[in-house]
Structure formats: C-alpha cells, structure tokens
Amino acid sequence: MKVGRVIGTVVASKKVESLTGVKLLLVQPLDEEGKPSGEPVVACDSQQSGPGETVFYIGGREASLPLPEPFNPADATITGIIDTIAIGVK
C-alpha cells in the first residue's frame, strides 16, 4: 500500500458493469516527506474519502478485492483514510 492525497474526482458514465456505483478519485502518491512523487493515479474509493484527504491505497490485483463486486479490473483502490503518520526514531 502507498500513501497518497486525493486531489480530484473523475466521472465516467460509460464503464465496465462491475464498477457501477464506485467513486473514482485522482490520487497523488506522496513520498516520506509528504511531497508528491510520480504521476497521479485514478483510484476507486472504498472508504467515502474526498478531495484533500490523505489516504492509503492498494495497487495491483488486490485492488479489486475491497469493492462491492470483486470481479472488476481496478488496479488501485483507496483502503483507508490516514489520521496521522509519525516519522522518526523512537
């Protein structure tokens, strides 16, 4: 899973049936300093997250699993909304 920030939303009415009713969000991956790293990805939402929120998302085949219909072609899905990240030596 990776850390990312929701920066926008995507709307598509013509899509595969298995993703009907699933919210699509643009997520900017973040590095350990909270800075953007790499190109934003479009991720399905399983947690009612919204723009501006810091989230963690899962990529690859496992992204299909948290959604209502698990037989879907999603390759990125938001699995949680991050409250805090603590970085540093204990």
């Binding site: 899973m1 399983s46 963690f56 899962i58 949680g80 909304i81 990240i85």
Partner: protein, 105 residues
C-alpha cells in the same frame, strides 16, 4: 522479499474492515547497501517491528494473504522478519561507497 527500514507508523480510523486491529507501518524499501530504492510503502506488521528497525517484507499479494491468513484480503505488503545483518560478497574491483556494506544495527 525486499529489504526495508521502518520509518514511521500510520494511524487510520476509517479503513477497510479487514485492517481493524492490524498495525500499519511505513517502510522505506532499500537495496542491500541501505540506499532508498522507491517511495515508501505501508506494510502490515506481523513481527512487532518499530521505527528504525531494518526488516524483511513481502510486496506481493498472494503471499501476503497467506501470511496474514486473510482470504480475499486487500493487502500487498507485509513485514515478515527482522534483518540482523546483510553480508555481501565484496567485489575487489569495485571501489568507493558501493563496496562499503553498512551494518544495519
């Protein structure tokens, strides 16, 4: 499996129900020389690791689901061990920082 260092903890209240009760750590993947290779990943902890530990983790879904005994789990990265030391064959021809193998602890 990959080598990494735990650089932090992640707390989330709103998350997929399968993650309830699982500890999430921020892991920085590293090469055997201790150099960062990619941006950090969030991994589920199974060995009670903490910030600063050098660990072994899996970044592949099927194995992760088996380790966690979580069928259809939406999980990919799992910490599965601590690294005590990494011993590398030192190529006499290579000079400079790359031949220096840092001691993890």
């Amino acid at each position: 499996m990959k080598i990494g260092t735990v650089i932090g903890t992640v707390v989330a209240t709103l998350k997929h129900e399968g993650f309830v009760g699982r500890k999430l750590l921020l892991v920085l993947p590293e090469d055997p020389y201790g150099k960062k290779t990619e941006s950090p990943v969030i991994a589920v902890d199974t060995v009670c690791a903490g910030t600063g530990d050098k660990i072994l983790f899996i970044d592949e879904g099927n194995s992760a689901r088996q380790v966690l005994d979580w069928t259809d789990g939406c999980v990919r990265a799992v910490i599965v061990g601590f690294i005590d030391s990494v011993d590398l064959y030192k190529n006499p021809k290579s000079q400079g920082s790359k031949s220096q193998i840092p001691n993890p602890k």
